[in-house]
Each structure stands twice: as structure tokens, then as C-alpha cells.
Symmetry: D3
Subunit: 240 residues, 6 copies
């Protein structure tokens, strides 16, 4: 089985880190292929960048040559999953949704902890659209940007663990979802300090994608995610 | 006052038609400027095309030279308004939202009548995100595509009036919102047959944009719609 | 165009102040006429007073001689808009609703800041009924009464700005709605300190009323707001 | 124990009928006193009439001389209960709410069946405000006015039983609430035909009022329903 | 009239205490019979114990010999009421629901104060299922177990009054519901300190049960609560 | 990896059928062990039977000797998952929830099709509690009982396919969930006729259980699902 894991930003080192996470979660025999968009922002932290990423990911996946069995969109809280579902016959799994669904098996309520404050509403909106917000206790941010996170990992760990602690203590979260692709190394720190399960979106999404493929299930094509009608589309793919 | 009215598809005749609607609604002294995206689909009827339109509209507005006071995004049920809000200091008004808000002043519940069935979930989702769905009785489609609508206007009128009648009779809508940029000529037909107010999104959005400018109000920049952070963005603008 | 702006209490100085706000927001050529109820409380701060105001406003508008194009009900969080809609053919705009709708164009979430704590549930209920609560971050009170507000404006400004600051910081409001007719002078103070847009209900409602008139739209008469059936009504109008 | 049962319209025969229903539900030793407003409409079928009734009931109860232990507001779907709660120290029970609460003990979902179609939104709104709508399957109308109901009882019974049957069959209601003060004689007909419990609001409200009195409970005065502040109220009571 | 009041745990002294509360609330002529399950936990503080209690209460009520007119299930936040409704023709009243319904007549919002923190989600879930959560300001716990409550009543009173005070001050509760069968003596303490009505579930449920019996109403049998189909059930009743 | 798959009724042939479905979905190396309760109903079609099943499953799992890695509760719409989560350290997956979560990856909205009408409210309630109802288009029943389903499979297939067709056509479901353990053979029939993905709960739950085990995740023990407190529990396990 081959799963494309699409980074949403143009930073290749981030793609590699995502692929490593995905590989750790994958079953034996599953091949993970990382996809990096050809255009867009070096990190996604808002709607402009996220919409650009949505199109850039569709562009990159469209241009990918060779077969694949599923796609994981590996940007937490980003736009675009619905477009991929229209373009593809194979399952498409968004890490925001996979993480939330997985967390809901583990406790009565979950919280998302992310980095930059301005992405909190994007995440809340994606969970609302996905119908996965009823048991979300809170979406909290540590106040750090994606790139800062890479620059000072120790401070990032501390800040995020602190937000997770508040989520458990004040919002009554029983499970923590890590709301950022680059935060995967924090799992051990949070579990050690708080004793709650920590869900990483990339890992969760890979297992969901594998499960769907194994069950022979893919996107319904009867209405919302039917293939685009045949018509004139100018300038597509963007990087053709 | 100058208002940019952005079409979401690449069909220039549609832009002209939208501009005419906008001009009919505008106050004396308001200048309407139509914007047509440089790339994307000739009509928007799904998520792939809508995400592409979101980026194409941002691209076109970014490249517009000269001052303007507000932007109306004139694609019903489309993605993208949030991105424009981040990029601009002037008010951005989405016709989906302006139409719903306007309808809510006129009756206890409103219904949206649109063309293609597959866009119904997109519209429902945009209304949900906008927080304007509580008083939406239904979103109904006539089963016609945007282009068919242009080709056989008489049949389109009939089909849409019929859906509006069902919305009033069965869903208890008291106001009808026209869920498509190209459907403006139907207002008289629906009002004549059903006796209910009919709201056109472009007209509603122009008055909202004028009102915001006149009140000196624009998008809050403290969180969700803060300007994008300074960072490397590859390949932007797309058509540079 | 002539817009009646109805105060909900019997304090004529308040009516004058409301008319001034309305005039500042009105387009050239719009005439604002203030209406003061002939009975009721000198300020509205609860359900008894608000229900009385609902009837007193209907009474005063009913007795108004001469034509008018729209009515603005200028009591924040008060009962009565639905009754006026039944009695009149012209648009009726409630300032609570106009302010919320306007705020929703400007940010992801808005908060209402009002004076007396006991009116908070009335405001929450009006927003709930209007279907405008999904994006309301909070309704907060400064703990001051309407009349105290007039007596010590400086203290009132300070108390309300402080609540607005909490709304932005803790409730993540991106826009502030002033939840009281007499609080209009506070706009500059809040924007200066917090950097967020501030929406005044009277100003917002006047622009909405103008827009509806210009678009040729008025209340739907097919169901909820149909004219009262012909029947015996004793003692009406109250002040006949 | 003495319970005031307030009719919301000015039709004395309706008050007598309500009192009889109340007396049938009351415990031995409970005295029922009917209250008829001194002004307002001969039947309440919309917001104008309902707001007028809210004030007329407050007026009539305020002028009532002698002690009483509770008030039942006996207009289905009408405004006003909150105002009475501010004015009185004794419990106030609205029949819309008492009927819904009672129905919820009896089945998974309930439907309200009322007469005139235009009152349906008022009832829905009252249930929404009361927090009792989650288990409401539907509010349905037979299309008859309150007075027609009195004029042709046989036809009214038939029309209402038919709506109740639709509510059970299509909306999956398991309990029927009669949404009109004058419909009490229909209970037997509906139960006989449909085999579901039928709740009459007046009867339900009397038992609730008795229970609250017996438990020594009354309206909380700490916030929403605190007594009106001491201030100048012109022209009150209306009929003084 | 005879009402069975079923304790959910196996502690006989708790049953006696519940019966005493019920008797204080009952009308003259109402006989209260306490039921203690033959198996299960000595106190219910979680789902395992609560599911066991659901079956143990059904078992005990099934084996009860002689007629009765209604059943009160006297475990706050516990499972099981729906099963009893299927097995019995007489009304079944759950104290969680009776307390919430009663509280809603008394104030704009109510809070539940209970003992052990882990039962908070159970209570929230029961209120959600019952459709009674819209006006619930909060469910708060004092952090004490049911048995500790019996061992050190003074400390329990203090801890619970403190939580009730926070509910009123911060969550804007206007009414307090005692979320535990054994907490009835606290009513006076809370009312004395906070000046808000306090609702005890057992007392409320007894008056509801009496009212339903007096109105001749019982569980609808048309769908959800129809009697179990005739089939092989092994090992039932458990204690046969 | 060893997964216990617990039937909720006492019919051993049903357990075998469930085990076969589970085995078809399981990865190589996963061992499926069927569990049949020692007491309870031969099929679960209501709350009494479902509560009994909840306890019988906990009883059977508690008495199971030897290690296991996860439990699947294989009764659609049944009570009990929360109790198992308290008793066990390994993941517990309910098929109702696994099916819904899986369906939500495949389409905008899903419908559940089940057999007996009376179980519809149980299913709706379980989805509500699980926070998975926002994107549920409908829960529909074919009107057949579990045992009838086994007796006349051809008629059952026809009836269920028909309900699924209505769900797609009228409720706009894009995915069908089979709401009954014994309905697995219907998948091909529905997909063939309607062209939509069909999700079987047992298969979905097995893949979820495997994923959780592989990710090293299990139930959070910090609050709702903490182990039962040490206390006297009479008569437990039931079949000891």
C-alpha cells in the first residue's frame, strides 16, 4: 500500500519530518511518500497561506506520477481536503479530523494544543465543519510560530506542555491533540507530565488511511465530492 | 467610494452581469469595478473550483492597481473571504453572508435557492461557518448548472421558482435568497408568484460594503484576520 | 427617505441623543425623526420595563402621522421588533440585531458590552432568537445602570473599556458591540485602547434601514409577520 | 392555596373555560381564580397581540387585590412570563413551558399541535428561549383560528387530530401537546385515535404551580428576575 | 397513591434518608415505599456502578409485589430510567431530570453541584440526553465522594456551598440543583448564604410523579418505550 | 494482537457471524476472540435489553481469562461502552461510534439504516452522546426485528436497501452505515444499487482497535473513565 503524505508548506525539512512520523505509525508493507508543494508559504499560519496551500497541495498531488492508495493532508487546521476528495478516487484523510476522531475514542473530551494564536479560529472552524467539535473542550495556543518552534524546541516543549496542563485542569480535557505537524516530539513530554493520551494527527491519519484502504472504502461520489464537471479551467495545474 | 466586485470564475460576461447588478444597488457616487480572475474555472460548482477561485480572486485583487474602499466577493457559497480579509485593510463582504444577513431582517426564516445540487453542501457549510444558519429553513437546488442557466433562462426561471415555492410551502421560508451570481433576473418572477421578498447577494453585499465604509468600519486585525506574517512565499502572486 | 428612530424609554434627552447618533450615520437626504413613547419607564433595564416599552413603541409609531420609510427600534436587547413588523409595511430594524450582523462582517467573533448586569440575559435571549449568537463570544456588563451612565460619563467609559478589554483578551472577541443606546461616545475610547472595531447599534441600524429601503425590500407578510387579523382589540392604541 | 390563572385575551368565556380546566387538574384545597385582561385582543394570534397581552396580564395581576400563591399564564406561546416574574415574589408558570416539561417525562419526543399557522414560529421561539426545544419533534398547526375553533368544534377536533396523527407518523412524536388554551376537549379524541399521551398546558401548569408552592420554591431574584429598580414609570398600571 | 422511590446503591441507610426526603415533599395521602437494590455498589460514582445500578433497580422494581402508581429513580446522574419506562405502565421519574425541569421554572439558568468530580460528565450526558442542558450554566463538583459526604457532613456542606457560590458568581447560575441524593440537608445552608432557590431532586421528582398520576398521564408506548418484545431472556430477573 | 469482540446478546450463532466479519477486516496477525454474554436477551431491541447487555458484556469481559489488547463492543446503538472503559486498561471501541467516524471520512453526511423502528431513538442518543451526530443525515429503520432478519434474509435485504435509497435521495446521505451487527451481507447489495460507500460497524471497529493498539493509545484515566473506586460491590460479577 502506498500513501501520499502531503505537507502544506514549502519547507522540505518539514516534509521529511512528517514522513518520519508517518512511517513510525505505518503498518509493515505501507510505503509513505512525502509531497512538498511547489509554491506557497514556508509555513501556514493563516487563511491566505492556507488557501494557497489548499491549491498547492491539489496541484502537487495532481502532478504526482504513478499509483497511490490514499492521501493524507498533513497540515493541521488547513483548508483543502474537500478539493482533493473531488479530484481523487482514493481516500483522503485530513490530520485535523483524524486526530479528533481518534481522541474521541480515548476520553470524554479532548483539547487541541497548537502554536500560533491566530490559527485557533481556523482549527475551530475546521472541527465545526467536520462535525467533530461537540466533544472538543478547547483549542489552545502556546503563542509560538511554526518556525520558532523549530528554532527553540526546548522552549516550545515547555510552552505547549503548559497549555496542555491548563486544558486538562480548567477545560477538563482528558486527551490532548497536538495541533501542528511539527510538534510530534512533544508526545512523551505531555504524557509524562499529565498522564493523558496524546494524539498526533499524522500518525492517526496514516492508520485511518490504511484502515479505509483495507476495508475497500473510499470517498462517496454521489454528491458533494463528485468529480469536477468537464469544463474549461484556465491555468490548471498551476505549475504545469 | 470605489468598490471592487470580484467574480469568482473566469467568464467575463458573468463579471459584466455582476457589475450591472452591483451598479443598480449602489448609491449615487459609488463606483463599481469588476474583477475577473486570471485563472480558474469558467464557472464554480464544487470545492476544487472554489478553492482555485479563492486563490485566483486573492491574486487578482492583489494585482489591482489604484485605491479602493471595499471588496465584494461575488461567488455564492465560495471559499476565500477570510484570505482577502487578511490581505486587505478595507472591508471584504461575501455575497453569501450579505444575502443571509439581509434576509434575516425580512422574515422569521429564509431559504436559499441555487442551481446545481452539488453546491448545496458548500453553501450550508459557508452559512454554518458564518454563524448564519440558525434561521436558514433550507438550501434547495433546481438541478441546473451555472452555464445551463445562461443557455436556457426561461427553463431556469421556471425550475428555480418551483424550488422557491417548495421552500415557502414545506420549509416555511418567508424570504428567498438567490444562491447564484447569475440568477438576479429571477427576483421579479419569484416575488410575483410567491409574494415573498427575494434577496440578491450582489445587491445586498454592495449596500453592506457601502455602509461599512460610511461607518468607518473595517476588518479587525487583532487575531484571525491579522496580516500574514512576513515570511517566504514562493510563487506569489500566481500571475506575477 | 424618512426613518423613524424609536427610543424605548420616556427620557426625551435620550431620544435626542439617539437621533444625533442616527443623523451622523445617515446618508445625505435621509431624514431622522425621533420617537419617544408616551408611557413606560425612564430607562429600560429588565423584562417588565422592556415589555412595557414594546407596547409603548408600537403605540407611538401607530399614532405617528405622516409617511415614513423605515423604523429603527433603538433599545438594545429589548422586546418588540416582531410586533412592529406585523403592524407596518416598511422595514423594521432592531439595533441589537443590526449591531451583531454588522460586527460579524468585521471579525471572527464579537462581544457585546453593556451596562447593567441584569440585562445580559435579555441580550443573550434576543441574539438567540435572532439567530445571531453563534459567533457571539460573550455578553458582558460593566455593572452600571443607564442613568448612572449619564451621570458620571468618565467612570462609565472606564468601566466599559475595561469590560471590552476582558472580552478581547479572555473571550477572544475581535469586535466590540456597544450594548446600550446611550454609550455611543465610547467608541473612540475603546478603539484607541484595544485596536478593535466598535459597532454602535443605532448607527448600524440606520445604514441597514437605508439599504433595505434602497433595495426595495421589506418584511415578508406570508406568515409570522402577516398583519394582525381583523378582530376586536380593546383599549388600543393605549394613548388614543 | 390560591392560584391566579391569567387568560391572555379579553374574552371572558375563554377565561371561564380555562378556569374549569385548571380546576379539574387542581388538588383538593387549591382555589383557582381566573384573571381576564382589561385591554387587548379578543384572541391572541401574533406578536402584536401577544405583546399587548403580556402587558395586559401584568396590568391585571398587579391590580389584583388580595393574596395568592402562584400565577399561571394561560396563553400558549405568548410573551410575558419574564415580566411577571420580576413583579412577583410567588412562582409564575407559563403553560407553554409546563406542557413541554410534562411531555418530556412521557416520551422521547413530543410535538405541539396548535391552530393558526402564524403562531407556530412564536411557539418555536418560546420553546427555544425556554431551553425546551431539543426534544420537540415539531410544532404543527391545523390552520384554524382561535375563534373558529370555538365556532365549529367538530371540524376543529378533526383538523387537530389529523395534525397530531402526522406528528406521530412522520415526525416520530410520542406525546402530543395541545398548543392552545381552548383545545382541552380534544384530549380524549387524540388519545383514542393515536394511543399517545396528550398534555394540556393549563392542567400541567396548575400541577407545576402547586408543586413549587408545596416545595417552598419561587423565582430566583439574584439577577434576571430581580424586582424592577425604583424609577419613574409613566402611565403604569395602564388601567389605574 | 403509592410511589416507589428506588435508591440506586445498596446502602440501606441511604434508602431511608431518601424516603424521608420524599415523604417531606409528598402530598397527604401519598405513600412512599423505598426500594434498595439487591446487588451493586454501596455508592454510585461512575459508569460501571451506574450501569450495574440500572439493572439492579429494574431487577428490584420487577420483583416488587403489589400495586404502585409511579416510580422515582433516586440516583442523580445515573443510567436506567429508559429501561424502567419500557417495563412499567406507570410513570417513571428520574431525579436528575425532575430537578432540572423544576429549576428551569425558577431562574434563567441553573447549575448542578455534586460531589465527586468524575460524575460530572455523567450528569452532563444525562442532561444532554434529556434535552435539559440548554439552560444549564454548569455542573460543578466539590471533590468529595458520596461516602465521605456521610462521614464528615460539616466539611461537605462547606465544600458544596463554596462550589454553589462559584456557580452563582462566575457561571451566572440563578438556581442551584443538588446533584446527589444524600445532599438534601444542604438546602438551607446554600439559600442562607447565596439567596438563590435550591432544588433537591428527590423532592422535585415526588411532586412530578404525583402530578403525572393526578393528570392520568403515563409513558407513551408507541415507540421508544414500548414493552420489550416477547423473547428469550436468560437469567432475568437477576435475583430470581 | 488479540481483540475481544463482544456480542451483546446471548445468541451464539450471532457471535460467530460477528467474529467472521471481524476476521475479514482484521490485519494479518490479529486474533479475534468472540465473547457471548452469559445472560440477557437473545437479541437487543430496546433499553431494558440494552442495559442488561451492558452489564452482561462487562460481566463476560471481566471473567475472560488471559490477556487481550482491545475490546470491540459489537452491539449497534447499545449502552455500556463507558463502563468497559472504566474496568479496562486497553482500548474499548463501540461499533456505533466506529462506523460513524469512518463514514465521516467518506462523505459530507451519512445515514444509519437499522432494523426495528424502536431502536432508532437509542441510536440517535448514542450518536448524540458520542458527539458524532452533526453530520448524521438520518437514522432510518426497515421495520424488521433482528431475528426476522435472520429468518428471511432476502426480504430483509430488500427492505433495508429501500430505506438506504430513501436516505440518499431525500436525506442527502452520501454514505450508509449498517446499524445492526447481523446486517453485514447487505453491503454489496446497497453499493450495487446506490453507488455509495457502505460502512459495517464491526469491520470499522476492528480497524480502529488495531490502530489504537499500534499507536500505543488507550483510554484516558484522569477523570470520566478512571477505574472504579475501591468499595463494596455486592453480587459482582453477576455470574461469579
Amino acid at each position: 500500500m502506498k500513501i501520499l503524505v502531503a505537507n502544506v508548506n514549502t519547507t522540505a525539512s518539514m516534509t521529511r519530518s512528517i514522513v518520519e512520523q508517518a512511517e513510525r505509525a505505518a503498518s509493515p508493507g505501507t510505503e509513505i511518500v512525502g509531497i512538498t508543494p511547489a509554491f506557497g508559504a514556508e509555513s501556514c499560519e493563516g487563511n491566505f497561506e492556507s488557501y494557497l496551500a489548499a491549491v498547492a497541495v491539489m496541484d502537487a498531488v495532481t502532478r504526482y506520477e504513478g499509483p497511490f492508495d490514499a492521501v493524507v493532508q498533513a497540515g493541521y487546521g488547513e483548508h483543502g481536503r474537500e478539493g482533493l476528495q473531488e479530484l481523487l478516487d482514493v481516500p483522503v484523510v485530513d490530520i485535523t479530523e483524524a486526530a479528533a476522531s481518534t481522541a474521541m475514542y480515548l476520553g470524554h473530551r479532548y483539547s487541541v494544543v497548537t502554536t500560533l494564536d491566530r490559527t485557533v479560529p481556523l482549527i475551530e472552524d475546521r472541527l465545526l465543519l467536520a462535525g467533530l467539535r461537540a466533544r472538543c473542550a478547547s483549542v489552545r495556543s502556546s503563542g509560538l510560530g511554526v518556525l520558532e518552534l523549530e528554532e527553540d524546541p526546548a522552549r516550545a516543549v515547555e510552552a505547549i506542555v503548559e497549555e496542555a496542563a491548563i486544558a486538562v485542569r480548567e477545560d477538563h480535557a482528558e486527551v490532548i491533540v497536538l495541533g501542528c505537524g511539527g510538534m510530534a516530539d512533544l508526545e512523551a513530554a505531555i504524557t509524562a507530565r499529565l498522564g493523558v493520551p496524546v494524539v498526533d494527527g499524522v500518525a492517526a491519519a496514516v492508520t485511518v488511511a490504511e484502515s479505509l484502504v483495507r476495508l475497500g472504502l473510499s470517498t462517496s461520489k454521489v454528491r458533494t465530492y463528485a468529480p469536477p464537471r468537464r469544463k474549461r479551467v484556465t491555468g490548471w495545474p498551476i505549475t504545469s
